[in-house]
């Protein structure tokens, strides 16, 4: 069992399951979002009608709460001319007020023709005025009602109603007991079908006076003034304020008994009764299903976008994890290769040294030639090992940034000639040409630069077929940079590998690559060049050769 834990594990099934789960959950999320939005919008359709009602009745409420009781402030002193000013402001501000009846009322204990009378208390309109809107301009038409032959008026239901309520109330009040203003709404307001009638609320003292008038035998009393104003309202003129156009396509004010005869199944309906004087009417709301669906989508879009966003981020993170894992895996295999290579690399000189050593050990005596031969072999192989180790070491140093650049001025042709000379001795069949255009001196770290040169020259030698081993080095300056071009006629690099050749431990799998290489050379070069603030790039064609270009900042 323990063993299994360190086995190499496959991800593909997990990946598939993961993607599948993500996909399914995404679909479920979208579906739920859609369902919830649908439910929400349907709920809204039922609930938001209260907002519409409130907005629509706002002017009415304001009228009922502020303008109607304002009549009380006049304390009964309103007359036809002052009433018309009041009426004017009401008509201007509240279009739903169609008509106003004003009963300029007198209260006394006199016997008045046509008066509402209980005991000695009589209440009679001294005059009745009807105010209506003029159909043409915004002026007021007003008419003083004429009494009939018996001195009373026709159509006094509102007055009688109010007088009856009021006189009963006066009868019921008790001395010393404060009046409850909560009672006032039922006494002084009379709200019926499309009509509000209001009488100014007398002061408490006046109510007691009225009671005395009613119940006590008194001399002829003075005349007290009361104002009864009746407002006739027109629900048609109520301005419907559709504050939720997205929900309700059509809103109508209809009688409370109205039933829609529209049989279209795609038409959604809801209703809400109006209040106060409009209680016989309701607001009827309707919308086509398409309208609602549009609203659903309208609300779904941001939700869906948010879900998509979340999933995109999720997938992106998953991808990043996957990619990192992949890179780590590659690194792992590269290091594995490297160790393999290195072992191999070390093995050759070590075995050569071992054979040479064995030979020396087993030989009875060594001739001068043999001694020289073995000595040379040992020396060379030790150099190789040393070289390998140096490379490895310096590479680690660069990676740890422990190399410091020590700049000095170098003569470029002389610098290249020295390198070329050493190569000519080692590899006589490796032809190296160079040319420098316009540059002779240059400040840099000669050790690092020669390292770069050696690597690139080694590569040109290594990856060229025998007989074609040649290298052309071109040096010139361009836009404040110094450019070194190394052009060989080697085997070339496949186009898709050109990026990878600078990676650590990377070697193109080819027959030329079997021995003597660790895959560090170009990576090492790139690290050095990066250190010197330069760049390296490669252009290559398989079979024709490669061209490495090193660009370094030019300093004199």
């Amino acid at each position: 069992m323990r063993k299994a834990r360190f086995q190499y594990r496959h991800n593909s099934a997990l990946n598939v399951i993961f993607l599948l789960l993500i996909g399914v959950s995404f679909v479920v999320a979208m579906f739920l979002a859609h369902r919830l939005t649908e439910k929400y919008v349907e709920n809204e359709f039922e609930l938001r009608k209260i907002d519409v009602l409130e907005e629509t009745l706002k002017p009415y409420t304001e009228f009922f709460q502020n303008r109607v009781p304002e009549i009380s402030f006049y304390q009964g002193y309103l007359d036809s001319s002052s009433a018309i000013k009041y009426v004017d402001t009401v008509f201007r501000k509240y279009p739903f007020v169609k008509k106003i009846e004003f009963y300029d009322t007198e209260v006394s204990n006199h016997r008045v023709a046509g008066a509402f009378r209980i005991n000695h208390f009589s209440m009679a309109p001294q005059a009745i005025y009807d105010y209506t809107r003029s159909p043409t301009a915004d002026s007021i038409v007003y008419n003083k009602r004429k009494p009939n032959s018996s001195g009373s008026f026709w159509n006094m239901d509102e007055f009688n109603n109010m007088a009856a309520k009021f006189s009963l109330y006066v009868q019921s009040i008790e001395e010393g007991k404060p009046l409850q203003s909560a009672d006032f709404i039922s006494i002084f307001y009379h709200v019926t079908h499309n009509r509000i009638t209001f009488m100014n609320i007398p002061r408490e003292e006046d109510m007691h006076t009225y009671k005395d008038l009613m119940l006590k035998e008194q001399e002829k009393s003075p005349v007290f003034q009361q104002d009864i104003v009746s407002f006739i309202l027109d629900p048609e003129k109520l301005n419907i304020r559709n504050t939720h156009r997205e929900l309700y396509q059509y809103i109508h004010i209809t009688p409370i008994v109205y039933e829609s005869l529209n049989t279209d199944p795609d038409l959604l309906n809801t209703e809400l009764p109006l209040t106060g004087a409009f209680a016989d009417y309701k607001l009827h709301f309707s919308s086509s299903r398409n309208h609602i669906i549009r609203e659903i989508y309208h609300r779904l879009v941001p939700v869906a976008l948010a879900i998509v966003m979340i999933y995109t981020v999720l997938l992106f993170i998953a991808y990043l994890i996957y990619r990192n894992l992949n890179i780590n895996k590659k690194m792992y295999s590269l290091q594995y290769d490297f160790i393999n290579n290195l072992t191999h690399e070390f093995k050759t000189p070590v075995s050569v040294i071992k054979i040479a050593g064995n030979n020396i050990k087993s030989a009875k005596e060594l001739s001068d030639r043999e001694r020289f031969h073995y000595g040379k072999i040992l020396d060379e192989e030790a150099d190789k090992l040393n070289d390998l180790m140096n490379k490895l070491l310096s590479f680690t140093q660069i990676e740890n940034q422990s190399i410091h650049i020590k700049k000095e001025r170098i003569n470029i042709p002389q610098f290249i000639q020295n390198l070329v000379d050493s190569y000519q001795i080692k590899l006589p069949d490796f032809k190296i040409e160079y040319s420098t255009r316009g540059v002779t001196t240059f400040r840099t770290d000669p050790v690092l630069l020669s390292s770069i040169f050696q690597n690139l020259m080694d590569n040109a030698n290594k990856y060229s077929l025998p007989g074609q081993k040649s290298l052309n080095i071109l040096v010139f300056t361009e836009k404040g940079n110094i450019v070194f071009k190394f052009r060989d006629r080697g085997i070339g690099i496949p186009g898709n590998e050109t990026e990878n050749v600078f990676k650590k431990f990377y070697r193109i799998q080819s027959q030329y690559n079997q021995q003597g290489s660790v895959g560090l050379g170009l990576a090492f070069c790139k690290e050095l060049i990066n250190l010197m603030n330069g760049t390296i790039s490669v252009k290559s064609k398989v079979g024709e050769g490669s061209e490495f270009t090193v660009v370094l900042p030019f300093e004199l």
């Binding site: 402030f73 304390q75 009964g76 002052s82 000013k85 404060p178 002061r203 003292e205 007290f224």
Partner: protein, 625 residues
């Protein structure tokens, strides 16, 4: 080292400045100290001048105490623990009459001797109203009372015998007598009849005769009898502005109704009081009030008495509140703008002054703010007088101001000690009290100039005063509040409605918000009174537009500044439901509002304190930022 020295130097200066500033500015005095009731009040001398009686709380209610004038033992002679004793006087050298007003059972009168013995009830007639005709004089054990016993709408005159408790009708009121006046011997010889619009002075030589009219005058004039002349028969001294602008001290022949002589008059102000000796039947002085109260002496010995008193009590206003029968001893009350004063006993013969009690000892004089008389020209070049109180120790520059219009409007702001003003000044506000047109004391014309000018010219006079304060650099124009009681509260609400730029906030105590209601408070059967109101305020039948325009209740939509309203539950002049409506609309409009409804008719001291504490918070929230 040097830095250290500098630091020390700086600290020393800082300390010096701080202590200087502290020395100048008044300390913050607790609210309770301003509005606490005086410990001892209503001092009365016994007719023989040997004893002094006064009211003092006992178990939280006012009771009567007696002390010998030479000092010594203080005797409490009443034990009322449920109701305050509102009134007391000496019935004779030995006995004291006192009144207790039970709101449910009506007034009661009791008699008790100065040792607190022989207590007896002498009057209890149930729920009615009682007025004393001769408030501080009882002749032959007979107390003259005016009672609305027969008819609740008017008062008959009665004689109450305190020895027997016998109540006798002295004179029937035909229904129009508003005031009964008795002479020094307790004989009802004068009366004032009024129909609310016209007043008539009535006179009779003897009680057995019928009253005859002396002179009739409209309510715009006033004749206030002072006393009977000792030199001529049928002649009275009176304060009168009948057929003249300023109130004058005159002599009137009650037979012919003619004004015989003008004794004293002042060019710019009314004669507001007159000193009269019931003993000698002589006029002592005429008092008038320009920037402060002054006296014109008509009697040399009185002048000498006052001169001596002024030497003993320099820089104070001096009043004589009670004397004994021989006028040899008297109770003296003093006050200034920074002191609520004290009561003294003064012996004219010995020229000896003894302090009896301070009115309010918890308000140190050196912490109170001075009240200055000021005057300015209003929009139509009329000169308006007023008073300005600058917080003590503060430069009169860029200050938050509370404008305090007086009530009435038929009254005036006077120079003297005012707890409310001193309280505001102590909290750092300058207090401005304009005597706008319509105020009393500056002549008839000035008073009448305020008729039907509520909310218009009167308001403009107040505004002109505020603008004057801004111009003078006294007021910080961003921190001006307006506050008043009754008519003053009406002015405050009006200011908030129509001059929202001028005032930062406003407060009203029992202020009227609707003039229709104000007028409606007069029952319609008082037609003459109604006529007077129509003339003073406006006729609601003919001037409905004017009354609407100046009634704040119709203009809540114009108010945006913070409002403070305090309202009594029962106030006929201001309908509570109307104020509720007013407050409701302000609330709906999200105007910051503090609304206080008070349950009791008679304000208790706690309620008073609570009110001022809320008002203090309101002003500091709005003016101190």
């Amino acid at each position: 080292m040097r830095i250290k020295f500098k630091l020390v130097y700086g600290l020393v200066w800082l300390f010096l400045f701080a202590s200087c500033a502290q020395k100048q500015r008044a300390d913050r005095i607790p609210l309770e100290n301003f509005f606490k009731n005086p410990k001892k009040s209503a001092f009365q001398l016994s007719p023989d001048g040997k004893y002094v009686s006064f009211l003092q709380p006992y178990k939280n209610h006012m009771n009567v105490y007696v002390q010998h004038v030479e000092g010594g033992k203080v005797t409490r002679i009443s034990s009322e623990t449920n109701y305050n004793i509102s009134y007391h006087c000496w019935g004779n050298n030995d006995e004291i009459i006192y009144m207790k007003n039970d709101p449910d059972k009506g007034p009661f009168l009791y008699v008790v001797n100065k040792e607190g013995e022989k207590f007896r009830q002498v009057f209890s007639e149930g729920q009615l109203r009682l007025k004393f005709i001769n408030p501080s004089r009882v002749i032959d054990n007979q107390v003259l009372l005016a009672l609305n016993k027969r008819d609740s709408t008017f008062f008959d005159a009665y004689r109450l015998d305190i020895a027997s408790g016998n109540l006798q009708l002295a004179e029937k009121n035909p229904g129009n007598i508003s005031q009964w006046i008795a002479d020094e011997d307790g004989k009802l010889k004068l009366a004032i009849a009024s129909d609310g619009n016209t007043e008539t002075l009535l006179y009779r030589e003897r009680e057995s005769l019928a009253f005859k009219p002396v002179v009739s005058y409209s309510f715009k004039s006033k004749i206030a009898p002072i006393g009977f002349s000792n030199r001529k028969d049928h002649t009275i001294y009176a304060l009168s502005n009948y057929k003249r602008d300023k109130m004058a001290l005159v002599e009137i022949d009650c037979i012919s109704g003619k004004e015989k002589q003008v004794i004293f008059t002042h060019d710019s102000v009314d004669v507001s009081e007159a000193g009269y000796s019931p003993l000698t039947h002589q006029l002592l002085f005429a008092g008038y009030e320009t920037s402060r109260k002054k006296k014109h002496f008509l009697n040399d010995s009185t002048r000498r008495v006052f001169e001596h008193l002024e030497r003993l009590l320099p820089q104070t206003q001096i009043q004589i509140t009670s004397t004994d029968l021989t006028e040899q001893k008297c109770i003296v009350k003093t006050f200034t703008d920074v002191s609520s004063g004290a009561y003294y006993l003064y012996d004219l013969h010995a020229k000896k002054l003894t302090e009896l009690s301070k009115v309010n000892s918890s308000l140190p004089e050196n912490q109170m703010s001075e009240m200055r008389h000021i005057s300015y020209k209003t929009f139509d070049s009329l000169t308006i007088n007023g008073y300005l109180t600058i917080p003590k120790g503060v430069e009169a520059k860029n200050l938050p101001v509370i404008v305090l219009p007086h009530g009435g409007p038929s009254s005036r702001a006077s120079w003297g000690f005012n707890s409310e003003v001193q309280f505001f000044a102590n909290r750092g506000y300058a207090v401005f009290q304009p005597n706008f047109r319509g105020s009393k004391g500056y002549g008839k014309e000035f008073w009448i100039a305020g008729f039907q000018k509520w909310g218009t010219d009167i308001q403009r006079d107040i505004t002109a005063g505020v603008q004057w304060l801004i111009q003078e650099g006294i007021a910080d124009k961003k921190r001006i509040a307006i506050y008043g009681t009754g008519f003053g509260g009406y002015c405050a609400m009006n200011g908030l409605c129509f001059e929202p730029e001028l005032y930062r906030c406003g407060a009203s105590q029992s202020g009227f918000v609707n003039l229709f209601t104000y007028i409606k408070a007069v029952p319609p059967y008082y037609k003459p009174v109604l006529r007077m109101y129509y003339e003073m305020v406006g006729n609601p039948e003919e001037q409905i537009d004017y009354l609407r325009a100046v009634s704040p209740v119709f203009h809540t939509d114009k108010i945006s500044d913070p409002v403070f309203i305090s309202q009594d539950l029962k106030n006929p002049r201001a309908n509570l439901s109307e104020t509720n409506q007013f407050v409701k609309e302000l609330k709906n409009r999200k105007v910051p509002i503090t609304y206080v409804v008070r349950q009791h008719d008679q304000r208790t001291q706690d309620e008073q304190m609570e009110f001022y504490s809320q008002l203090e918070t309101f002003f500091s929230d709005n003016l101190k930022k």
